[in-house]
Amino acid sequence: MAVKKTKHEMPEQKPKDRIKNFNEVPYGYDEKTAIEEAKRCLQCKNRPCVDGCPVEIDIPDFIKQIAEGNIDKAVEVLKSKTSLPAVCGRVCPYENQCEGECTLLKIGEPVAIGRLERFLADYERDKGMKIPKKTRPTGKKVAIVGSGPAGLTCAGDLAKMGHKVTVFEALHAPGGVLMYGIPEFRLPKAIVNAEVDYIKQLGVDVKYDVVVGKTITVEELLEEYDAAFIGTGAGLPRWLGIPGENLDGVYSANEFLTRVNMMKAYQFPEYDTPVKIGKIVATFGAGNVAMDCARTSLRLGAEKSYIIYRRSEKEMPARNEEIHHAEEEGVIFKLLTNPVKFTGDEKGILKEVECLKMELGEPDESGRRRPIPIEGSNFKIKIDTALVAIGQSPNPLIPATVKGLKIGKWGNIETDEEGRTNIPGIFAGGDIATGAATVILAMGAGKKAARAIDQYLK
């Protein structure tokens, strides 16, 4: 029987409906569709998809179990390598990783590995999560700083190895960027909470309101713990550096998304934290965070939501799926356009942005063609809100407070491949070490560091 050349469709909310709510966009596969999709897998001997996965999931094995209808067994295989499958099954850039290596690409679309992972995670959550047997305690204690994807993965893996793990979180909620950054309609917060609960049931303790570097230092933690892992992320927003950026109406993507996602400003005044956006919103940048901002704006009632980006469509760093969803929802893309100035009214409230048209020149150090301003092409766009989503830098709080810690030129903590810093017993991984990257790469770093920490403790 010939293999179906395309993925089985995953049903999702219609654009005109979903821009009026914060519910998740796709509904996910049902069991029947998942089994059919799993049957597309060729079970290649060389397992290229596994090489594409930063957390080394045994992809063909769990797919085989699904294809044979052994869903519980499939869940077991999946969870032996990841503690956050419901998160990964939603926000991973599969197309560049597992699915990007799939043999089926030669004849059509890859196996929908991401959708299958999501199906398994949702199936297990609905059924009630099974907690693996506890390993014999090693008597060693590890402190994890930050409860984002790197920290949670590291914590989960170390707990499975029998170490006593405590996670210190500065905010009042777990998950880091999964909670404050990624919107509800892309990653429901109940799912993040469920995955964190699973990690807690592995024996991990999570302490909130502890700002490591302020409330307690890493050195003090090491008096009580045998090792520490720092996964404090890339929390420092970058700015455009143009006049008017401090006007009322200009937000960093971080502030806007934190208000809406973590503080639930979309439910103001039931929740106390407000956000206001007016009628016309412009988001600057074209990564996943920018798409999240533009799509969130529509859901908050914006009449027009622009993406303003200085390069062309080809260079947009966001995932195709995110760009596609944004387009479907009516986000307007103003490409090859660079902001030069914000202006406000006499009260200091943002009114418009002045932009320049750009053209592409020779490739720059990033390999992408450099945008060059077209002189005299200035034009103005009326806007009520500007969301600056041009990237984040590593959070400087820890790098600045640990004496002797080797810091890289972007303010990142320098580590080797396995997450060791220059100080024995202190490990780091995720965006704090690499600069802003993806959830899955942070998880991969957390996983590697867990292994290195285990080795260090022996």
Binding site: A170, L171, H172, Y180, Y208, D209, V210, V211, K214, T215, I216, G235, L236, P237, W239, E245, N246, L247, D248, Y251, S252, N254, E255, T258, R259, M263, K264, F268, P269, E270, Y271, D272, T273, P274, K276, K347, G348, N395, P396, L397
Partner: protein, 273 residues
């Protein structure tokens, strides 16, 4: 959860609470702040640390009931729990022996001034304090600040106590009388800090102000608290809250602090119903 172990009503709208937070009390220093969230649906608000007791493990906060959250906090009693309480945040005050320090507090800004007054006195400074309020009933911490001040002046808008007029009048008189001032601290309403800083700039007296912009996380992540200082964008939560008073763009700060005024009114109105 963080227990309120003591509550005092200092004046009509100003309340003091001692909150059990041992880790934070161990680290707290003058000039720093905390962020609290009352309950699951609450917002995160920053409050400057008015005092701390390392032995008892408490942080003292003093706040004026101005918005939905502070009003709600004001109704809480001894024994009640605050859901989240994080800190100490921000950079501590630079405490050294400057010589002659003039410490100016306006309204509820007197509260964060107090631990700095004490620290500076203990560091060997000659301390002159000037406290300004609308009327004498609103004056807080007079006795406490007096204890660590060599001289204490009061200014009230209505003349019900001390000088009738502004703290800046008292400062101007000190300067006119030939007082040699090495440093000024001014904490209070933005307009007060602006007026004081404009005055001391004329005489080239170093002036520190403590800013209280709108914040969300308080750890340098959101940039909501950004202020323009000497033409550079700084985050009050990590770079501050204290800054060189001569470099702060007060007008931009006032504008940014009005960002959610309509929403605040709406929330207060709903809460009142």
């Amino acid at each position: 959860m963080y227990e309120i172990i003591e509550k005092q009503v200092l004046s009509e709208n100003v309340k003091l609470m001692k909150v059990k937070a041992p880790l934070m009390a161990k680290k707290a220093q003058a000039g720093q702040f905390i962020i609290l969230r009352i309950d699951e649906k609450g917002e995160r608000i920053p409050l400057t640390i008015a005092d701390y007791d390392r032995k008892k493990g408490t942080i003292t906060i003093i706040f004026m009931e101005v918005g939905k959250t502070t009003k709600q906090l004001g109704t809480m009693k001894k024994g009640d729990m605050i859901l989240n309480f994080a800190g100490p945040l921000g950079t501590p005050s630079e405490v050294e022996n400057f010589g002659n320090a003039v410490m100016i507090g306006g309204g509820v800004g007197i509260a964060p001034l107090y631990p700095i007054v004490r620290a500076l006195k203990q560091a060997g400074n000659h301390v002159i304090s000037i406290l300004g309020v609308r009327n004498k009933d609103l004056l807080i911490l007079e006795k406490e600040i007096d204890e660590f001040s060599d001289k204490l002046y009061i200014a009230t808008d209505d003349g019900s106590k001390g000088h009738k007029g502004f703290v800046s009048d008292v400062l101007q008189k000190l300067i006119d009388d030939g007082e040699k001032i090495d440093i000024v601290w001014a904490i209070g309403p933005i307009i007060m800090m602006k007026v004081v800083a404009n005055l001391t700039k004329k005489y080239d007296i170093k002036t520190i102000v403590s800013l209280n912009p709108i914040m969300v996380d308080g750890t340098g992540m959101c940039g909501g608290c950004r202020v323009s200082v000497g033409g550079e964008t700084k985050f009050a939560c990590v770079d501050g809250p204290e800054f060189d008073g001569h470099l702060v763009d007060y007008d931009n700060l006032m504008l940014r602090n009005r960002r959610f005024i309509c929403e605040e009114e709406k929330a207060c109105k709903l809460a009142g119903e």
